[in-house]
Symmetry: C2
Subunit: 500 residues, 2 copies
């Protein structure tokens, strides 16, 4: 018990203090979600003896809880894109993702991801992931059918459409309903198992083992209640998820998220991988950014409405991806976010628990019920409606497809952050890594022997403003593979018992 108490993620163990090695492997991978599975498969395929440590009693991670869409394209288009008539170029995809990440973008990662994207799709297919050559054309968060391709971001919306030609890149597995995650992880788990990769379940990584030169040489884990020292001759790969389930860390690093109500993740997303990486000098970046969403569509008809803030002013083009709207909603001054919609267009949201807090034949009635300034709301609705009638939105450039005057009777849906309405979120900050997964210090030098992928790192998705469904699982699986290949290609340390 005493040894366990000292083995915390923030206190790495010194290599020469380890008296006995309980296990010896080439590559130790922490976490058996999408990133860990892909890292393991690639490392094993390159000939490494791989061990996966998974804190839960089964594989899955947060990938299994997701719809497992992957955001892929470029290179003339994936098989599905081509079949659906989209000839996506790498440059066009690059331009979109750079616009999506904005100032926060990691150009090297975006470049690698776009250049490798088509091959990654083919690899997933080779692993056994089924994708139909069909498109789902509604505005949706994920395809409720077994169709594959759909727009999952803000590609068709201002300001992104001015930066890159719109192209759908969300790839949905061939499965009915929101059941992609379990299928996806079942397939990857089978590939891991058939390779004979060693997996320890109920195994909690406690801390890294680092030598005098700052090289990561293994880790300490608690397996079946026993503390074990595991030497990894080629390196450790941290694929342990983000920190959304660590409320202390969320409060510390992205307190604005506390306006949200639904963390998305599995109980293992405690930030332990992030802490372990930081403890040996790994830089943490983008720690204040997160995916956060207000899933107000479907039904898509609500997109005809307008969002207003506490000043009864619009603040966004409502055809944007739902997380872009949430990103801006939680940053508005004053308390109150409402979706104002014509009763004709109203259908109760499929996912959102928002309540109607006002209705009225006139804006004045509506404003009084909601508690907004009537004069201001009157202007906002009239100005929007008048412009929409002419097919324009001079303020936020909402696409013509979603423009039409808002007519009485009116309804107002309460989407105020912190009011209990669903704002679902997960973290996007983590270890700074090269595209290869090598973990970097703050002065951008590599920590030898340490790799990371998935939400333990700061990857391609950088914020909710530019997020598209499929970016996180796409990033986790793609860079998981790169990390697996990189660690397996690393020089194998001589297996002497005592080098000190």
């Amino acid at each position: 018990m005493q040894a366990q108490a000292s083995a915390t993620p923030s206190s790495p163990r010194r290599y020469h203090e380890v008296e006995t090695w309980d296990m010896e492997v080439d590559v130790a991978i922490v976490g058996f979600g999408g990133a860990g599975a892909c890292a393991a498969i690639e490392a094993a395929d390159a000939g490494a003896h791989v061990l996966i440590l998974e804190v839960a009693s089964a594989s899955g991670g947060s990938t299994e809880l997701s719809s497992a869409e992957v955001y892929l394209g470029g290179g003339g288009g994936t098989r599905v894109q081509q079949a659906c008539g989209y000839e996506d170029s790498t440059e066009n995809m690059f331009n979109y993702l750079m616009a999506a990440g904005g100032d926060l973008s990691d150009e090297a990662k975006v470049r690698s991801y776009c250049e490798g994207s088509r091959e990654h799709f083919d690899w997933l297919v080779a692993m056994g992931a089924p994708y139909k050559d069909t498109e789902y054309k509604e505005r949706a968060i994920m395809a409720p059918t077994d169709d594959c391709l759909l727009y999952t971001g803000s590609e068709k919306c201002w300001p992104f459409k001015d930066r890159a030609d719109p192209c759908p890149r969300g790839h949905n597995l061939e499965v009915e309903g929101d059941n992609g995650g379990p299928l996806f992880m079942k397939i990857l788990t089978e590939r891991v198992v058939e390779r004979g990769i060693q997996v320890e379940y109920n195994a909690r990584a406690l801390t890294l083992v680092v030598d005098e030169d700052g090289e990561v040489r293994g880790l300490v884990a608690r397996i079946d209640g026993e503390e074990r020292n595991i030497r990894a001759h080629q390196g450790v790969v941290l694929c342990a998820g983000g920190f959304v389930m660590n409320q202390e860390m969320v409060k510390q690093y992205c307190p604005r998220l506390t306006a949200g109500s639904v963390p998305i993740g599995n109980p293992g997303d405690t930030g332990a991988g992030i802490l372990m990486g930081q403890s040996v000098g790994g830089a943490l970046i983008n720690m204040n950014e997160a995916f956060i969403t207000l899933p107000f569509y479907p039904p898509s008809s609500l997109t005809y409405g307008i969002f207003v803030n506490a000043q009864a002013q619009r603040f966004i083009n409502e055809d944007s991806y739902h997380s872009r709207i949430a990103y801006h909603a939680i940053r508005q001054t004053g308390k109150g976010i409402y979706l104002i919609v014509s009763a004709d267009d109203y259908e109760h949201p499929t996912f959102l628990n928002a309540e109607i807090v006002g209705t009225g034949e006139t804006i004045e009635e509506l404003a009084e019920e909601v508690g907004l300034d009537a004069g201001m709301l009157r202007h906002t609705v009239d100005f929007y409606s008048e412009q929409a009638a002419h097919g324009g939105d001079p303020l936020f450039h909402k696409s013509e497809q979603w423009l039409k005057p808002i007519k009485p009777p009116y309804a107002a849906l309460d989407c105020t952050p912190g009011s209990g309405v669903i704002y679902a979120y997960f973290t996007l900050g983590g270890l700074d890594t090269r595209p290869t997964g090598e973990v970097l210090t703050m002065d951008k030098s590599v920590i030898p022997g340490l790799y990371a992928a998935g939400r333990t790192t700061c990857g391609v998705p950088r914020n909710a403003d530019g997020y598209a469904s499929g970016m996180s699982v796409g990033d986790a699986t793609y860079f998981g593979r790169l990390a697996g290949r990189a660690v397996a290609a690393r020089l194998h340390r001589t297996q002497v018992v005592d080098e000190s």
Copy 2:
């Protein structure tokens, strides 16, 4: 040269690798600005043998470049507050600072700062800092006279005025014009010198020395071109400023600041102290937050104007402190921030280089020149003016004092971020510390032997939204003192040459 190359902030030196100690002290302090000076004085007064390492050829740091206002109050009021008729309470000051920091607040630090604030004022007076018992009553960034007390934040503005009773807490030194910084540092430097505290100038701290138990035992510095190993028997205090002069770090951690044009700081604000702390496990928090300001007043008459964004909508109460306006301005959607003002109220800003980009007898003329939607701008100006005529601002609750209708002829001042107009900034993220200056790991355990204060840490000021002039120097000097006392009270390590 080889040894120097290896001594980077991100690679701490191991204690047992140090062959000879070139210097031995009780307490080593990195940086001779406001925080370092105060830490040194307190540590020396507690009996410690103190060494200050300053990278420049003289003391001063960024405190010298500031106006050296200090934000103090509470406890019934400082001597000056009382003389001016303000009976400030600790709880009222606490409520204001907690509102100012919002979700980001460190309650323990705010509590300590408010409780110790009055005593800190008396200590500064005892050190020789002169403060007149007078108030400067204009809306200003700092007192241009030698008057002492003034409102330097958003105390009188919504939403802060609803959280705490307004009270002025900016204390300006008895010196004409913006010359507080040099006087303040001259006084503190004299106090350091007369105590016989050892100071090495042109001394660059390179990296920390840490032992097997993770305890900081000293540091490596380059003094007069020679690398020196300095053993600090009680601890090291990092008072090396923020990272505003490290453009790579600014781009990485707070890229939105790149919309700004004027970094505030001395060339030594490279983040070296932050990097050194992180390299031994110190947690970095709030790294994305900064002070950023649009110094549009004086003249205060411009406060009668309204700020609008690219949608020609207001976004803030214009009587807010200038950095609160900048904070919101750089977060608006679309490109364009303009101050619309009646020509009658127009005077050219004292500090701001903003240009008039539009004038007109009608809003339509003005809108065309500026490039805003005329209908929207018409509504914004009319709605504001109509409400202002009745003494109200239902949208942003601007104080009645600053409300009056905007009348033709109109003028528009271009305040668009990134257009070259002055947005001055410095960083507010850094090491997570206890009020005592003890540096914390990510799991909130103390790193033995390591202390920090000033902008190397994340202190009381957390963001530009809630900033008030005097918060940074107030925080740096107050918590510098606490760190000096804490390190001097620490157990003295036995001075054996080789403990390994």
